[in-house]
């Protein structure tokens, strides 16, 4: 009885999802049919362009893989730097004040300014893309950790101090699970933002990657190709979210049951 109710609920959720996708595709098709041409490719044209691109080996080796590698490397660096500094700022409020100007500058500078500055500092290529992805990811992770740690229940902190719980155990049993939810959400946001600036950076100054493919499609006035690249970047972020971030979420927020 309980199981069949659960299946019914899942089916209903699936139905709403499918309906949402159909509504989106319908609206897209309608807009393309009314004001299409160069400005807007239809879903079908985009799909054919995507299939065409996917059939060519250069798309994988020169387009998708370089972007994926750069985004993951930049995100990893941002996670490391933002995580470490966010942890310190969450524990020591003085450090948060010290780092405030850096955080404020990095989170308010427009992506395109960051790309141009990174091009001046690192030149054109992978290093520049990795740097801008790291610089845009780090403040998001930093803020999630700083605020997450600040919100840890002081009563629980006092309890672990009273029982002299070792530092390592405090980290794994109290602090990490407490910041897991905001941290995973911040990772999703940082990854999406990282993909955006990576493609922007590749469009302006790289000879490989999805951004470069986008620049070529723009130069050829290949609108379905443009939309296909946008779709691939969205699918890439979704794939990372569905694999790595889902694992992270399950590991950190999965509760204590063995």
């Amino acid at each position: 009885m309980k199981n069949s109710l659960r299946i019914l609920k899942l089916r209903r959720r699936l139905l709403w999802r499918v309906l949402g996708c159909a509504l989106f595709l319908g609206a897209w098709q309608w807009a393309a049919a009314r004001g299409g041409g160069l400005a807007l490719a239809s879903p079908l044209e985009t799909w054919f362009a995507l299939v065409d691109m996917a059939a060519q080996p250069w798309f994988w080796t020169q387009g998708m893989l370089p972007t994926l590698g750069r985004v993951l490397a930049g995100f990893g660096l941002g996670l490391l730097a933002g995580g470490l500094l966010g942890w310190i700022a969450g524990i020591y409020p003085e450090a948060a004040l010290l780092l405030l100007p850096f955080r404020w500058v990095l989170s308010s500078v427009p992506g395109v300014v960051l790309v141009i500055l990174a091009m001046l500092w690192c030149g054109v290529g992978s290093g520049m893309i990795i740097l801008i992805v790291a610089l845009t990811s780090a403040p998001t992770i930093y803020m999630a950790l700083q605020e997450g740690l600040g919100a840890v229940d002081p009563a629980l902190c006092e309890m672990v101090r009273l029982y002299r719980v070792p530092l390592r155990k405090r980290f794994t049993e109290l602090y990490l699970p407490a910041v897991a939810a905001p941290l995973v959400s911040a990772c999703v946001v940082a990854l999406g933002g990282g993909m955006r600036v990576a493609i922007l950076g590749e469009t302006l100054g790289a000879s490989q990657g999805l951004g470069y493919t986008l620049a070529l499609a723009r130069a050829d006035l290949n609108t379905p190709g443009l939309y296909a690249v946008a779709l691939v970047s969205m699918l890439l972020v979704s794939a990372i979210e569905a694999t790595f971030l889902r694992c992270l979420r399950n590991k950190l927020c999965g509760g204590g049951r063995p």
Partner: protein, 227 residues
């Protein structure tokens, strides 16, 4: 002048020093004086009750006894090795099961610690709820997990800081009877000293040997016949 000393574990031949000795202890929070010239001694195996109105400094005094708070004045001598604390609210990790919460202060990899934690959960009547999360337990059950956690460390000092707060009539009585049976039966060791903070007279444990009243920061002993 404050001096806080934690002595090494005593050898069997050494005379037993008091677990807690406070001399002329005073403490303020900002301009508000919470404790003034408090003198208090607690021997191993003793069971004392601290009463007093809300905000009188009872919880501050228990925090000083456990070493959580360093007083601004006076001398504190602690020979306590392991403290068990039942707070007013259960203070359980919401993402860990009842058993994992009880094991938190222990070495969870040691089979003996695990066995004893299970034994304590069994003793508080939660032998069948070991794998439940705090959110799946009632208020009374959560407080019993907190009691099991306090006993699982085999404390030489058990502090019960108004553990019945938030529990209604029958649950209150059940919890009191449970504590009396466990503590009175020496479940966690005969030499365990107990400090109970109580707000209501009916909450006082039946085997309490002394009662102190804390009012306006001053600690006074209540004559035994009134306990």
């Amino acid at each position: 002048m404050t001096r806080q000393t934690s002595l090494a574990p005593q050898t069997p031949m050494a005379p037993l020093a008091p677990l807690v000795r406070l001399c002329d202890v005073g403490h303020c929070f900002g301009a508000h004086r919470v404790l003034r010239k408090v003198n208090f001694t607690l021997e191993a195996g003793g069971c004392v009750v601290l009463t007093g109105p809300s905000g009188a400094g009872k919880s501050t005094l228990t925090r000083i006894m456990t070493g959580l708070l360093r007083p601004q004045e006076g001398i504190v001598h602690l020979t306590v090795r392991r403290v068990g604390f039942v707070f007013q609210e259960p203070r359980l990790l919401p993402w860990r099961t009842a058993l994992q919460n009880v094991l938190l202060p222990c070495d969870a990899h040691q089979p003996e610690a695990r066995r004893y934690a299970l034994e304590m959960l069994e003793a508080v009547g939660l032998g069948r709820a070991t794998s439940l999360l705090p959110g799946e337990l009632s208020g009374g059950m959560r407080q019993r997990v907190s009691l099991a956690r306090a006993l699982a460390v085999r404390p030489d000092l058990l502090i019960l800081d108004e553990p019945f707060t938030g529990l209604d009539g029958p649950l209150r009585e059940d919890m009191k009877a449970l504590i009396e049976s466990l503590v009175g039966a020496g479940q966690a060791g005969a030499a365990m000293a107990v400090v109970q903070v109580a707000h209501h007279h009916q909450d006082i444990l039946s085997h309490a040997s002394a009662q102190f009243r804390l009012e306006r920061g001053t600690l006074t002993a209540v004559p035994t016949m009134l306990v």
